[in-house]
């Protein structure tokens, strides 16, 4: 089985004054199709930087990122935008719905960027909203919806382009614990039922435990990887490859 995402020796170095700050200090790992990955760490650990680089929002200082056999670390901004439009769904912490559009228009927006006709994209948006259980809220404006509902719209928007990978940046950060469980349940269901790949960033170990595999990041290093042994996809990977997914772990000394 071939990994969908390959990361090798990834560095991100910020120059703050004359000091060099290593936000990411050489991480290497693989992610397979169908996995639900959680990158866990405290704030400042480098977990968000890692996600941003995987999504092509930030350029790495050094290292290789290969997604679906494409070197995204070598792409320019226009190519990255196109790559995201074709392959990547994104779920934000603060939902980031466009306030002037209603729910269904928000969901359909990524298809509009692809130049899909109005009828087609509305149909697709309707389909995914029903899948997520908010099919009756298409006409609502974002400010009329609760946080949980808005995040569901956000998830539907990430799904509408039929992406290979979904990135989620603290998707439950602004939700109460009850809604958090609902949303995570939904995300997990989508990953397993729709065979998506999801990479989620969180600071909460409890939330991270929903994932198939956790990568714990401290000071720019992966210090621990936790595999959920009961997860079907992890069992399958182990069966096919004979070993757990590749990941360089640098334990804290």
């Amino acid at each position: 089985m071939e990994p969908l995402i390959k990361v090798r020796d990834l560095y991100k170095i910020f120059n703050i004054g004359s000091n060099k700050v290593y936000a990411l200090n050489g991480v290497s790992f693989d992610i397979y199709k169908g996995e639900f990955i959680a990158i866990v760490g405290t704030s400042g650990s480098g977990k968000s930087t890692c996600l941003n680089m995987l999504a092509g929002l930030e350029a790495p200082s050094k290292g290789v990122i290969q997604i679906a056999n494409k070197r995204i670390d070598r792409m320019n901004e226009a190519q990255l935008v196109k790559f995201r439009r074709q392959n990547v769904g994104f779920i934000f912490q603060s939902y980031n719905l466009i306030p002037s559009m209603n729910a269904i228009e928000n969901v359909a927006m990524p298809l509009m960027f692809r130049g899909v006709s109005y009828e087609k994209r509305m149909k697709a948006a309707k389909h995914y909203m029903e899948l997520i259980g908010i099919g009756d809220q298409g006409k609502h404006m974002p400010n009329q919806m609760s946080g949980g509902q808005q995040q569901r719209v956000g998830i539907a928007r990430a799904l509408v382009i039929d992406p290979q990978i979904i990135f989620a940046d603290e998707p439950t950060g602004n939700l109460d614990s009850h809604t958090t469980d609902d949303v995570l349940d939904l995300m997990k269901k989508i990953v397993s039922e729709e065979q998506r790949t999801m990479v989620m960033v969180t600071h909460d170990p409890h939330i991270a435990s929903w994932a198939d595999r956790q990568l714990r990041v401290v000071d720019g290093h992966i210090v621990e990887t936790v595999i959920n042994d009961s997860s079907p996809i992890e069992i399958k990977i182990k069966e096919e490859n004979g070993e757990p997914p590749f990941c360089v772990v640098t334990p804290i000394t």
């Binding site: 968000s48 941003n52 999504a55 929002l57 930030e58 901004e77 226009a78 935008v81 196109k82 995201r84 439009r85 074709q86 990547v88 994104f90 934000f92 912490q93 603060s94 980031n96 466009i98 002037s100 559009m101 927006m109 990524p110 509009m112 960027f113 692809r114 130049g115 006709s117 109005y118 928007r157 382009i161 940046d169 603290e170 950060g173």
Partner: protein
């Protein structure tokens, strides 16, 4: 992204901040209106001027005079630059010349209704006469008719006659009132011995009543270059004068070296008619090169238009400044809009919106501001133009038209042709797009990371 979607997105973004959009558009409205009104004033003035020159006389006519610069040269040359029939024929052979007409002027003193007046009878060709427009019932004197008949200029009737002592103006009507004309005494005598003065006075006193064949169109205040003269057919006039002045032909004939009066006519002016306004200058130069002194209304018009061009540029510049201010307003609005929507733009970029689409969306927004401002500004300009024309028309304020200096009725001071209207709208859109370009590019280059940041 589809063009329609871009347009819709831009429009919905504009309607989100209605007051701000309205104010920005208002700036463009004022800018466009001031440019259009200013240019329309310039155009209206230029049209009025053209019209007033046309009123004064045809723009295709050249007046030829004898050149005074050469009058001191020897006789041989002199005869060549005299306005004789021979020279007139030479003019006629020039390219683009349609017709020529001599003008033979005779000053007369007239008495009517107890008043006195002086004016000039100008003998001209049939062609010239046919160019005159007469009041209803008048007719143009025939060529070489038996009896001399006159066309009176319209202003002769009102302004030329006055009471001898009080100098009060008298209005006459040649059709009803009898006008007695006195022709000047001849300054020439072919007899060597001096003529008895009594005889001359007696001659001077002889009064003629000359039939009226018509009156020029126009009222008391309608001035043109013909309105203070009386006109007659040249051949008839010549014959009439020969009866009075015999061999001298005219009251003040030129004489040869040995004191004899010329046996041919020397005209005061020769009018040359050219086929087109644009050929006037060319023909004028040719005649001037022959040694004659020439002028034409075209020449004046050109220099006047040159001056007016300056005025137009100043007016347009004033309008341009206000449109420039409006452009800065658009830029400001777009910049603010981008700062407000930084996060939104970031989200769109994360979700795969092309950079060029983002730029185009903002260009559309500023373009729409320009378009709306342009259309509204044009409507406002038409309104202002209407008001200006209303105020400066005859029933409006005199002071306004006095200030402008062209008081001819009929012409519109502010004139908005179709091309100006089209130009105004296109220009407004262009200004909007250009003003929006820098903000749009800035929006395009915004980092998608802004979307990730959580406030």
């Amino acid at each position: 992204m589809r063009l329609y979607d871009l347009f819709k997105l831009a429009l919905s973004n504009l309607t989100r901040r209605k007051t701000r959009t309205f104010l920005t558009i208002l700036g463009v409205v004022i800018g466009t209106a001031s440019i259009v009104v200013m240019v329309s004033l310039g155009l209206g003035m230029s049209q009025m001027m053209l019209k007033s020159y046309q009123d004064e006389g045809s723009l295709t006519m050249i007046r030829v005079y004898e050149s005074y610069e050469r009058s001191d040269s020897n006789d041989k040359n002199k005869s060549q630059t005299e306005l004789t029939d021979e020279n007139m024929e030479r003019f006629k052979t020039l390219d683009h010349v349609v017709e020529v007409s001599p003008a033979l002027d005779v000053s007369v003193t007239a008495k009517a209704k107890g008043g006195e007046g002086d004016f000039t009878i100008r003998g001209v060709s049939q062609y010239y006469l046919s160019q005159l427009s007469l009041r209803d019932g008048g007719e143009i004197p025939k060529k070489d008719q038996n009896e001399l008949s006159l066309i009176y200029g319209n202003q002769l009737l009102y302004n030329s006659f006055y009471k001898p002592k009080s100098y009060e103006n008298i209005e006459i009507d040649p059709l009803k009132d009898t006008v007695f004309l006195t022709f000047p005494a001849s300054s020439y005598s072919d007899k060597k011995n001096t003529v008895d003065t009594d005889d001359q006075t007696a001659k001077k006193q002889k009064k003629y009543i000359i039939p009226v064949s018509g009156i020029l169109k126009g009222g008391r205040d309608d001035w043109n270059q013909n309105s203070y003269n009386a006109f007659a057919d040249i051949d008839t006039l010549k014959r009439f004068l020969r009866k009075i002045y015999k061999k001298a032909l005219v009251p003040n004939p030129r004489t040869t070296k040995n004191g004899k009066a010329y046996t041919y006519y020397v005209y005061d002016t020769i009018y040359v008619f050219v086929d087109d306004m644009n050929n006037v200058k060319d023909v004028q130069k040719q005649i001037s090169d022959m040694g004659f002194s020439v002028n034409s209304n075209m020449e004046w018009l050109e220099s006047a238009q040159e001056q007016l061009g300056m005025v137009q540029m100043v007016l347009g510049g004033i309008g341009g400044v206000s449109l420039l201010v409006a452009a800065i307003g658009i830029m400001n609005t777009m910049m603010m809009s981008i700062y407000e929507r930084t996060k939104e733009i970031g989200v769109m970029k994360v979700l795969g919106c092309d950079m060029s689409d983002i730029r185009n969306m903002f260009l559309f927004e500023s373009g729409i501001i320009g378009l709306m401002g342009g259309i509204a500004g044009l409507l406002v300009s038409y309104l202002i133009s209407f008001i200006i024309n209303f105020l400066t028309s005859d029933n409006g304020g005199e002071s306004v038209s006095m200030f402008i200096g062209y008081t001819d009725g009929g012409g519109a001071l502010s004139y908005i042709p179709l091309w100006l209207a089209a130009f105004a709208i296109i220009f407004a859109i262009a200004v909007g797009s250009i003003a929006g370009y820098v903000p749009a590019v800035r929006a395009m280059k915004l980092s998608p990371l802004a979307a990730i940041r959580n406030e």
